[in-house]
Amino acid sequence: MKTSKNAAAAAVSAIMLSGLVSAASAGEFDGVTVNILTRPGYVIAGPLKERGQVFEKETGAKIVVSEVPYAEIFPKILNDWTTKTNSIDVGVFAAGWGVELDAAGLLEDLDPYIAKDKKIDTADIAPYFREFGQKVGGKTKLIMVDGDFQMVYYRTDVLQKAGLQPPKTWQEYIEVASKIHGQDMNGDGQGDYGSCIFKKRNGQSYFAIQTIAAPLVQTKGTAQGFHFDNATMKPIVNNEAWKKAFEIYKETGKYGPPEELNMDIGDTRAVFKSGRCGLLIEWGDPGTLQLDNDAAKIKNLMYAVSAVGSKEVLDRKTGKLVAVTKESAPNSIDGVNYAPFAAFGGWAGAINKNADPKKKAAAYAFLSYMNQAAQSNVDVTLGPTGYNPYRLSQLKSTDLWVKAGMTKELAANYIGAINAALNNPNMASDMKIPGAQQYTGVVLDTELARYLSGEITVDQALKNIEEGWEKITEDFGRKEQISSQKLALGL
């Protein structure tokens, strides 16, 4: 891992030396310090620091990156900005969190900056990330540095050996996992796991369950959503579709590592990199992480499918599951409804509206610099950065990826899966309304964890989630939440 980080740093440095800083002119921000808050570790924060040093040389702006645990990023930024402490100028966080911060009037409108910026080339940013990730209420409030949605990965060698095809539905996912579970997948003589999913409470387990639920619930395009009735904000969670998603999710545990309930994403990554996982739900990272030196056993073997779907979908009137037809699921393909889930939405930078104008200008220039193709088209090909593709130029040809170390076949599969997801009109959007963290990160996550541990039944879990979500909606104000939901889904 250390070697791969060093390699990533070297690659980033090489590009830096070529003098590609171009969002601002030399010395323009002398004496200005931009304080950025983001997650800990090299992932996400590392490239910000490294590129920040070059940016300082070129523009005079000092980039200071502070790191806090993932779960504390949002409360810290919210506290800092609402109390006008203003010790943070830029937050780099989940694109979806922007809605709540913007509703509190805390985000700088970036459209005027973009209008004067000749380098950012927003047309090259994939429409989903440009329109849903960067914009809130039609105005650009964030700049992406990463593009995120979840996909399913499979070990092509293991499936080929077993004569199996990659799963198209969640039922097939279970079948494939059950058939390959216990096989030795890394040649160490030990039986390995059919499926690996990070199921630890207070980790990111609540994203994976939504990846399973999305194709069962959302059928009519991104704007339909799959958490609420958009007109009333009544939760659409206590029904057969979510019930089935919960049951499938629990069943995957039969074919996972014994400690799966206590594994976060760092744990599952360590396990799949050691070659012990046949299938996994993940973001774009495994595509490049398998190129790391410590992942030699799976190099060029981890293929992706853009989404796993369902042959049954929710009838929202009755709460029951019905077979997929062109009426019930207009976007379905060969009788399967797909809804790739834009979990997390990607890491994006937002600027504190109350920061000093000079700082805001320097902050924008730096975020633009990180976002520009010259930098990001390198960063997204390096596994340790944690950055995944979000620009069209990154997904046009396999060249970038072959240069990063992928075989042409893997590169074609990888960008093919991403393109398929991004072009899917039924892409499922992550929750982007005020209180999103409470709805999903607390209520959904807690009840899911209680169900997985056997504390409560699936029916109790769904009822609790419905009650919990209603309470949060009442707290934030139903009318306000309806408006936010419409903005978030582009209605």
């Binding site: 779960a71 504390e72 949002f74 409360p75 919210l78 506290n79 900005w81 609402t82 109390t83 006008k84 509190a104 009037g105 805390l106 630890k200 409470r201 207070n202 980790g203 590592p257 014994p258 400690e259 799966e260 309930l261 206590n262 976060d264 360590a270 396990v271 509206k353 109350n354 209180g435 963290q437 409470q438 990160g441 607390v442 807690t446 964890a449 209680r450 169900y451 997985l452 541990s453 056997g454 504390e455 409560i456 609790n464 009650e467 919990g468 309470k471 707290d475 934030f476």
Partner: protein
């Protein structure tokens, strides 16, 4: 210097008009105690007591973050009631349905015993304040007995309150027993005892976060250092962290590893102050080691032991680091303490509920620890006198 110009400070010789500065000095003298204490008191109020009371405003409100700062909506005790009803009841108290016969029997027995104790206190002429205190303690004991009956004795899952009490009572008992045994061992004339004293004390120096991560790594059955051991004994597919009870016990294991040294060092100090003359006299009289411990050693170390146990209990109520790092409160909410519960709510920006839960913990800690002090520690003190 003539006598007429001389007078004692604070006095006014006859015939001389007192100066304004004399009055000021006198006034300052009279209030000197206040002026000495005031700075410390102001600081204490500013940095400790004021935030405590300010958090009551949070506990009684729903708090919204806006561009103009925090917006409070006063909801009275809604945040508190929410922990005892609906969805949150199971989280805080546990599931309280389908109470078993054994549960009802136990609850009835505890209630009867507590009421009898209250009656006896009344008959013995306890003061009004004493009776109020006993009434509060009895109410808490009956409530805890009900939770115990409705959850553990009825096969229902626990909430964070019972999990916290488990860490406090079971954890402190284990730690006290082992810490005292180690102290007894090291108070004996054995070779290398100074080495063991230092060795046993080291875990207390380590930050709880470090202990949490260390135990998480050591106990990782798939890639931890003990993995060959798990394999060798056939437990490679057994995950302690996915079973509620083993997870709780492993949290106690980590907590005990850290806190046994605290008991150990305090008890060792107490044991070394036990009068050797009395022990030697008892030995000459042929008393057994057990008798010596019961009749001479324990009565002398008991006040320290009870005080140490009380301090440890207060600390144990606040346990947060280990369950957060080792299991993140899971599986489900099996290892989530009340402090962790409050922290998770704070992290989700639910400041009102977070403060309410923190106050509930404060009430629980104060009542349990004050009851322990009044009825057990003081009771033991009286016995030894």
């Amino acid at each position: 210097m003539s006598n007429s110009n001389y007078f004692q400070p604070g006095t006014s010789p006859v015939g001389f008009k007192r100066l304004r500065s004399d009055h000021l000095n006198e006034w300052l003298d009279r209030h000197s105690r206040t002026f000495f204490i005031a700075p410390a008191l102001v600081l204490l109020l500013a940095f400790a007591i004021f935030p405590t009371f300010y958090s009551i405003i949070f506990a009684l409100s729903r708090v919204k973050f806006t561009a103009n700062g925090l917006r409070f909506r006063f909801v009275w005790f809604d945040n508190f009631f929410a922990q005892f009803s609906g969805n949150e009841q199971a989280h805080f108290l546990g599931r309280l349905t389908n109470i078993s016969v054994l549960g009802w029997v136990f609850f009835a027995a505890v209630t009867a015993a507590t009421l009898y104790w209250l009656y006896k206190s009344f008959r013995n002429g306890a003061s009004v304040v004493g009776l109020i205190g006993r009434f509060i303690s009895a109410a808490m004991a009956i409530s805890i007995a009900f939770l115990f009956s409705a959850t553990l004795l009825s096969g229902n899952p626990w909430g964070t309150l019972m999990t916290t009490l488990f860490y406090v009572f079971v954890g402190c008992t284990v730690q006290f027993f082992i810490g005292t045994m180690l102290a007894l061992l090291c108070s004996q004339p054995i070779s290398g005892k100074n080495f063991f004293r230092v060795l046993f004390f080291i875990p207390l120096m380590i930050t709880p976060l470090g202990v949490g991560y260390a135990f998480k790594m050591v106990l990782d059955i798939t890639k931890g250092p003990l993995q060959p051991l798990w394999d060798a004994i056939g437990l490679q597919n057994w995950a302690w962290s996915t079973d509620a009870w083993t997870a709780r016990w492993f949290v106690i294991l980590g907590d005990s590893w850290q806190w046994i040294p605290f008991i150990f060092i305090a008890m060792l100090a107490a044991l070394e102050n036990v009068s050797r003359d009395q022990v030697e006299a008892a030995e000459v009289d042929g008393a057994s080691n057990l008798m010596i411990f019961q009749e001479i050693t324990w009565p002398q170390i008991m006040p320290v032991a009870m005080t140490i146990l009380l301090i440890r209990m207060v600390e144990a109520f606040k346990i947060v680091d280990l369950p957060n790092i080792m299991t993140s409160g899971g599986p489900g909410i099996a290892t989530e303490s009340i402090t962790l519960h409050s922290y998770f709510l704070w992290r989700a920006n639910d400041m009102g509920s977070s403060s309410a839960v923190a106050y509930l913990l404060l009430i629980l800690t104060v009542v349990v620890c004050a009851s322990f002090f009044n009825y057990i520690v003081l009771g033991q003190f009286k016995k030894t006198k």
